[in-house]
């Protein structure tokens, strides 16, 4: 199983991950190897097997509906690369 350059480019768009032209050949080759590895799964018969999403058979615990958090936006925004008027700034969002 090997991937094409177009496959990788499509994945890069979905994952919003730039791969430079220099990196491309390496990424393509190694990803193809990895896909080859995981393709071994196909041969296993899993008819009637329930997929396992969690390692333990537990159910969701719920939180009571209470406000437990206070405003700390100034502390949190210290990590933000670009903030103005308490808003996080990003390149223009077009709708």
């Amino acid at each position: 199983m090997s991937l094409t350059r177009e496959d990788v480019q499509k994945l890069c768009v979905l994952a919003r991950l730039e791969i430079t032209p220099d990196e491309m050949a390496d990424v393509l080759a190694k990803l193809s190897d990895i896909v080859g590895l995981v393709s071994q799964l196909e041969a296993e018969d899993t008819t009637d097997v329930v997929p396992m999403a969690h390692p333990l058979d537990q159910t969701q615990k719920l939180r009571s509906d209470q406000i437990t958090e206070t405003d700390e936006h100034q502390l949190y925004q210290k990590n933000a690369p670009l903030v103005e008027k308490d808003l996080y700034l990003v390149p223009k969002v077009i709708e």
Binding site: R63, I67, Y76, Y88, K92, I94
Partner: protein
């Protein structure tokens, strides 16, 4: 060619919890930017979601009220896509196993009949933040206060055949969620939002046409207008031998048109998968039974009861039911007053509606307590107040002068029913107008009205005009 319209709606209802669906941040509307976005809402490295029990209960209540199946086991999934208002790069939603499945509600049609609209599913999910497009040197600003607010997304089957039916369905859901107390339904604040999937097909064709998804339909009227516009557009495309493109379109209420959304054109692949941070939600029968007991009387049941018990017409009942506060107000007045339910309704649609309109108030904020209105009706019924004075008392109640009886007392507005008192008044009036009395005796019956008018004026309208009339007549004759 004759075309059939096919519409399905996706309604996003903001659940009226105190805190967010996966964090303890407040959901209060209108807070300064990012002051209600904590580490979990911001998608900080290392944080984890913990599900709000109240949101689950509210979803179950909706399911019970729509005869849906409540999933014994439901699963949260991640919907992966990048958008600046989506902090984690995925939205926690439900995909394969939603909490509510397969219900229905009925809408009424203009021909008097009913139509059942099937509800495919309702699932819990978190809201995204908001992008603000004010100019920050060509950049957009992101406010994440809304991120993580609990939503119930209610998805209908494509069962509606007109914009009008879509509007009815949306109103019906709106009324229902407010009755259930699971949402304030405030559309201005975005607590009740709607997307529509609309398509057309030739009449008698079974296969569905290509649909478009209409976004930004934030009022009942916009839903109807957007669908109308879109249906016309699709028909004209098809009649020109064109093809409808499956796409997302934004409704522009100012121009009354829909147009393709830019930036959404790229085919999305959301890569849904079960969220490993959240375990399956298991709902047992005991909880369902408990929540069923907590359900209020539902709008349809209340409508039937209003028609049967209060003898209201179907349309009168519908108007009252559509707003739970009106229905509650009505019921208090009708129960506490000795008059007919119609009298109560007339007061509500008359003086009360006028006063509320005048000050642009919702009925919840009425300055007249329903018990006072009931007492007012009782005082009119038992003859204490004339209908004219009753209106005066209503205005005094509105102005906060006290209870009905206090106002009658302090303003001395009781109707004068004592015939001795009225006879004394009549005698004075006759004595003051000998000329007119003479005219009566000479057969001019018309002056009777003059005397009644003078007596009513002298008693400031507090006497019963009919009673005055008969006393004037007999005393003039006796002279």
């Amino acid at each position: 060619m004759e075309w059939e319209v096919v519409v399905g709606l996706e309604i996003h209802v903001q659940l009226s919890t105190e805190s967010k669906i996966f964090s303890g941040s407040s959901v209060r509307y209108g807070a300064p930017a990012n002051t209600q976005a904590n580490l979990v809402d911001l998608g900080y490295p290392g944080v984890l979601p913990v599900l709000n029990q109240q949101a689950v209960h509210m979803a179950i209540k909706f399911g019970l009220a729509t005869q849906s199946e409540i999933s014994a086991r439901s699963v949260f999934a991640r919907k992966n896509y990048f958008y600046p208002d989506l902090p984690k790069g995925y939205q926690i939603s439900q995909y394969e196993l939603p909490i509510v499945r397969g219900g229905h509600i009925n809408i009424s049609l203009d021909d008097g009949g009913n139509k059942t609209i099937r509800i495919t599913r309702a699932h819990l999910e978190e809201d995204a933040g908001k992008s603000l497009h004010d100019d920050f040197h060509g950049l957009s600003g992101i406010d994440l206060n809304r991120a993580g607010i609990p939503l119930l997304e209610i998805v209908s089957e494509p069962d509606m055949r007109s914009a009008l039916e879509a509007g009815r369905y949306m109103r019906k859901i709106h009324t229902l969620v407010r009755y259930l107390g699971i949402s304030d339904g405030n559309m201005q604040e975005g607590s009740f939002r709607c997307d529509a999937n609309a398509s057309v097909r030739p009449k008698n064709e079974d296969k569905l046409g290509v649909r478009t998804e209409l976004k930004n339909l934030n009022s009942f009227r916009f839903v109807e207008k957007a669908i109308d516009f879109e249906v016309e557009r699709q028909i004209s495309v098809l009649e020109d031998n064109g093809q409808v493109v499956q796409e997302t379109r934004l409704y522009d209420s100012e121009k009354n048109e829909t147009r393709p959304m830019r930036g959404k054109e790229e085919a999305n692949d959301y890569r849904y998968f079960p969220d490993p941070d959240l375990l399956p939600v298991v709902i047992d029968k005991n909880l369902i039974d408990q929540l069923r007991r907590e359900l209020p009387e539902l709008p349809d049941d209340k409508w039937e009861r209003f028609v049967a018990e209060y003898k209201l017409s179907p349309s009168e009942a519908s108007v009252l039911i559509s707003n739970q506060a009106s229905a509650d107000y009505f019921e208090v007045v009708a129960e506490a007053s000795s008059g007919s339910a119609k009298t109560a309704l007339n007061w509500m649609t008359g003086s009360l509606a006028a006063a509320l309109n005048r000050e642009d108030l919702a009925i919840e904020k009425s300055k007249v307590d329903p018990i006072d209105l009931a007492t007012l009706i009782n005082r009119a019924e038992d003859g204490t107040l004339s209908s004219k004075l009753a209106k005066t008392v209503f205005e005094a109640l509105w102005e906060g002068e006290g209870t009905t009886d206090e106002i009658i007392q302090t303003r001395q507005l009781q109707q004068i029913t004592d015939s001795n008192a009225i006879e004394n008044l009549v005698e004075k009036v006759i004595g003051a107008h000998p000329e007119q009395a003479e005219q009566f005796r000479s057969g001019k019956n018309k002056v009777l009205g003059f005397f009644v008018g003078q007596v009513m004026k002298a008693c400031e309208g507090k006497a019963n005009p009919e009673q005055v009339n008969s006393i004037v007549r007999s005393m003039l004759k006796a002279q």
